[in-house]
């Protein structure tokens, strides 16, 4: 048989060719790589981060880690309000969160689920000091030294063995709570023996020391701890067996244990702060939203809520977002049909005029296309105002009385007319390029076979122009459902789109999770439409100018 073909350098031709091909591929990829990397970092990652944020829900477990843990066992249907242990965990979580000023953020987050929780968290945060004082005052009354930060530091700081696990756990707790790094040096390490004897006090002191060192940049050895240390210590002392303890201030600890100092009844204390704590409502909300990921924002985006019993729809009069989605689609359809109605005759005229005349008229289409969006929007504001050009002209002609000027701005009409104007070139250009390819001989043939003008148009010309209508319609529809600027300026409150709601949630109501969820839904809709556009027209056929 034929021997293997060899390339000039003696390698088999097949291998030589595939090597050349591989090199070519690598060179192509090497040219694309910088841009691909750039787009991934500056665009794809931000979009992915938005998608992630629409389901991310770590704030509850980050702010109230021990409460969430205690609530895991609680069953709202079976039992009454949660146990005293849960209230106790809540007290220490909230105390730290309030010192870090994070409890109001959590309140705002939970308020999206249950109205009223925002003020509940804000007000309770202020009164936690009073609850701590129930233990703090008697303890410092017993021995002045408990008021001194040095006493606590001597007790808690490591002597022989350090509880590294506790230290790492609390660093993580502070980092999650504050959303900032908590890995800096801390002039403190919890003593393993004390941590075993007084677990709660050691935990809270360690958290405090890390917070003071990493967030405030101070030395915990020279600072007085928060009042919440007193109840933590007294709770530990109720059960701790400190008879074998011989470390520093052992005497003070024994004295405090023997005196039987008071600790607040946390259930009663919270109920006294606000009677809502005595109901199941806030606890159910915390429990339902304690998981790290939530469908809550997506449910909110379609006017539903997550409750302990499952998904609940908002009452009809509060269903604003579904209505807004509906209105966005409805108005986009109207804009699309207006564009078809206005664009079709123009495209037909351009396609059937002689080249030179058509090019001249095409400038009238391209000029608005190239003009700044803000210019066109301000032009429409000038046109549509009550004292604007359209009303002035109508009054001058006598069609409208001066005291009865039309209201055509800040409503749906304003949005539809200005967006039709802005998007019309996107309809005309694809229609025109399709109509250019339709042979006029077909029309003549139809007529010579006896068709009337209308039949010839409707049965012969129109079906051939449908691809242009389809391409233009999808383009206009996609552009219009994501529009923000024009509805914001001329749409008032009745003529705005879902995108205006996204912007509102980002900049005014600060409900970023909901904004991300609304954005994700809109993105999904647009991608489906683009997929259809790609199937029908092909993205590669997108032409500019």
């Amino acid at each position: 048989m034929a021997e293997t073909m060899l390339a000039a350098d003696g390698t088999p031709l097949k291998r030589s060719l595939s090597r050349a091909l591989r090199r070519q591929k690598l060179r192509a990829l090497g040219l694309i790589a910088p841009l691909l990397f750039f787009v991934l970092i500056t665009f794809i990652v931000p979009i992915a981060s938005m998608l992630f944020r629409s389901v991310e829900n770590e704030i509850v477990s980050n702010t109230l880690p021990y409460t969430v843990e205690a609530l895991a066992e609680w069953d709202a249907d079976q039992s009454d309000i949660p146990s005293e242990a849960t209230f106790q965990a809540m007290f220490f979580d909230m105390f730290l969160a309030a010192e870090a000023k994070r409890h109001t953020r959590l309140g705002t987050r939970l308020n999206y689920e249950t109205t009223g929780l925002s003020s509940l968290f804000r007000q309770s945060g202020r009164q936690l000091g009073d609850v701590a004082d129930i233990s703090y005052e008697p303890l410092t009354g017993l021995d002045k030294a408990w008021d001194d930060g040095e006493t606590w530091y001597t007790l808690m700081n490591a002597r022989d063995a350090t509880d590294t696990a506790l230290m790492a756990e609390q660093r993580k707790r502070i980092a999650k709570l504050t959303d900032k790094e908590a890995s800096g040096t801390v002039n403190f390490a919890p003593d393993a023996e004390v941590a075993a004897l007084l677990p709660l006090a050691a935990r809270e002191y360690t958290a405090w020391a890390i917070y003071v060192a990493t967030q405030d940049g101070r030395d915990p050895a020279a600072r007085d701890p928060w009042e919440a240390m007193a109840p933590a210590l007294l709770i530990d002392l109720k059960t701790a067996d400190i008879s074998g303890y011989s470390g520093p201030i052992a005497d003070m600890l024994r004295a405090a244990q023997d005196t039987d100092l008071p600790v607040a009844d946390f259930t009663a204390a919270f109920t006294e702060m606000d009677e809502d704590w005595g109901t199941k409502v806030p606890w159910e909300t915390i429990q339902t939203n304690s998981s790290k990921y939530t469908s809550g924002y997506f449910l909110n985006a379609v006017d539903a809520r997550k409750t302990a019993e499952g998904v609940a729809w908002q009452p009809d009069n509060k269903q604003i977002l579904i209505k807004l989605f509906g209105r966005t689609i409805w108005m986009s359809v109207l804009i699309m049909f207006s564009c078809i109605a206005l664009g079709y005759p123009i495209a037909w005229l351009l396609a059937n005029l002689p080249r030179r005349k058509a090019n001249l008229l095409l400038i009238l289409v391209l000029l608005p296309f190239w003009t700044s969006l803000l210019v066109r929007t301000s032009a429409w504001k000038v046109m549509l105002q009550q004292q604007g050009v359209i009303n002035d002209v109508l009054v001058w002609i006598g069609l409208v009385a001066d005291d009865n000027r039309l209201i055509i701005i800040n409503n749906q009409f304003g949005t539809i007319i200005s967006m039709t104007h802005i998007l019309l070139p996107f309809m005309i250009l694809p229609m025109y390029s399709v109509m250019q390819t339709i042979q006029p001989t077909y029309l003549r043939a139809a007529k010579s076979l006896g068709a009337t003008n209308w039949t010839a148009f409707w049965r012969v010309y129109f079906p051939q122009s449908i691809p242009g209508i389809g391409a233009g319609s999808i383009l206009v529809f996609i552009l219009s459902i994501g529009y923000y600027i024009t509805p914001e300026i001329v749409g008032g409150t009745k003529g705005v789109f879902i995108s205006n709601r996204i912007a509102y949630n980002i900049s005014s109501s600060l409900n970023w999770g909901l904004a991300a969820a609304l954005g994700s839904i809109l993105l999904a809709a647009v991608l489906v439409l683009y997929w259809a556009y790609d199937k029908i027209v092909g993205i590669d056929n997108v032409k500019l100018g």
């Binding site: 070519q24 591929k25 192509a28 990829l29 040219l31 694309i32 910088p34 841009l35 691909l36 750039f38 787009v39 500056t42 665009f43 931000p46 979009i47 981060s49 938005m50 206005l342 005759p345 123009i346 080249r355 008229l361 009238l364 608005p368 190239w370 003009t371 700044s372 803000l374 210019v375 066109r376 929007t377 301000s378 032009a379 429409w380 504001k381 000038v382 105002q385 004292q387 604007g388 050009v389 104007h421 019309l424 006029p440 996609i478 552009l479 459902i481 994501g482 600027i485 300026i489 996204i502 912007a503 980002i506 970023w512 954005g519 809109l522 647009v526 683009y530 997108v542 500019l544 100018g545």
Partner: protein
């Protein structure tokens, strides 16, 4: 499609009626842009034609809104920012985009469809969604640049807006440059290599002059994208990076000053220049590639 001499009355009515309809639609397209121009010379602080203007009384007209634009520090800051941000963003998108377009036009590119979809995506995704995603990501990116790299806060603000605008302009560069490369004759680069030119020389002396019209019109698109962009800059930038469209948007949303109309008139003039340039380039490119210019 002239009217034949034997046309019936109905055909005549239809013929002229259709032209009137088309004229009205063209009027609808152009009128709002044209109306802005005389109003920008209004001597009053109104958005409407005053009786003096309608009588063509010279007292009804003035250049005061233009003077305001060129003297008001707010507008000047906005213009300066626009003229800083748009050119830098354009340079980034054009340099990266042209290289990638050349890579994409090679005959064997693995995952071409996926890569193309990713590169075109900034044009497909609605601006409000891009802005939302960038708002979240760029604020942490900004913090990182300030804290870890120790950059100045103002500089970081510009970097964020420029990066965002550069990526928004990339699809336009890719589309226009790949369109030009479709007609590019590969044997020219081979001929250049044959005569001893290295890849860099070939690129700058042979390929670049031929695809230059596409590159320039792509860069005009990228420039206008950044120059006209407001949603992303509203979300990503801060007040010290406000651009002309930002200032116009704020003006339109709150109380409006006719200076906006003066700016609008200037921008219309700019877009006429750009439109003419792109059209001339397109014709030149088609002539160079041996097609008859349309």
């Amino acid at each position: 499609m002239g009217l034949p001499p034997y046309a019936t009355l109905g055909q005549r009515i239809w013929y002229y009626g259709f032209r009137v309809i088309c004229g009205l639609i063209f009027f609808f397209l152009i009128a709002p842009i044209v109306v802005v121009m005389p109003l920008s010379f209004n001597a009053q602080d109104f958005f409407t034609f005053t009786p003096e203007m309608l009588r063509f009384d010279p007292a009804g007209y003035s250049l005061k809104h233009y003077v305001d634009f060129f003297t008001n520090p707010q507008w000047q800051l906005a213009m300066k920012n626009s003229l800083i941000i748009a050119p830098i963003a354009t340079v980034i998108s054009v340099s990266l985009g042209t290289l990638a377009a050349i890579g994409l036009s090679q005959s064997h590119v693995p995952f071409k469809g996926t890569i193309m979809a990713i590169l075109i995506s900034p044009m497909i995704v609605p601006l409000i969604i891009s802005a939302t995603g960038m708002f979240f990501f760029y604020s942490s990116l900004g913090n990182w640049m300030e804290n870890t790299l120790g950059l100045d806060k103002g500089l970081v603000g510009y970097i964020k807006v420029i990066l965002a605008h550069a990526v928004l302009g990339i699809p336009f560069v890719i589309i226009t440059v790949t369109a030009t490369l479709v007609g590019f004759d590969r044997s020219l680069t081979r001929a250049a290599a044959n005569m001893g030119a290295g890849p860099v020389t070939t690129f700058f002396r042979v390929q670049m002059p031929l695809i230059l019209p596409g590159v320039i019109s792509g860069s005009l698109f990228a420039f206008i994208t950044s120059f006209d962009e407001v949603v992303v800059v509203l979300f990503v930038g801060s007040a010290s990076q406000k651009t002309l469209p930002w200032q116009m948007f704020i003006g339109l949303r709150e109380q409006i000053s006719p200076t906006i109309l003066a700016v609008a008139t200037i921008l219309v003039a700019v877009s006429i220049v750009l439109l003419t340039t792109v059209e001339l380039l397109r014709r030149r490119s088609e002539r160079l590639r041996g097609m008859s210019p349309s």
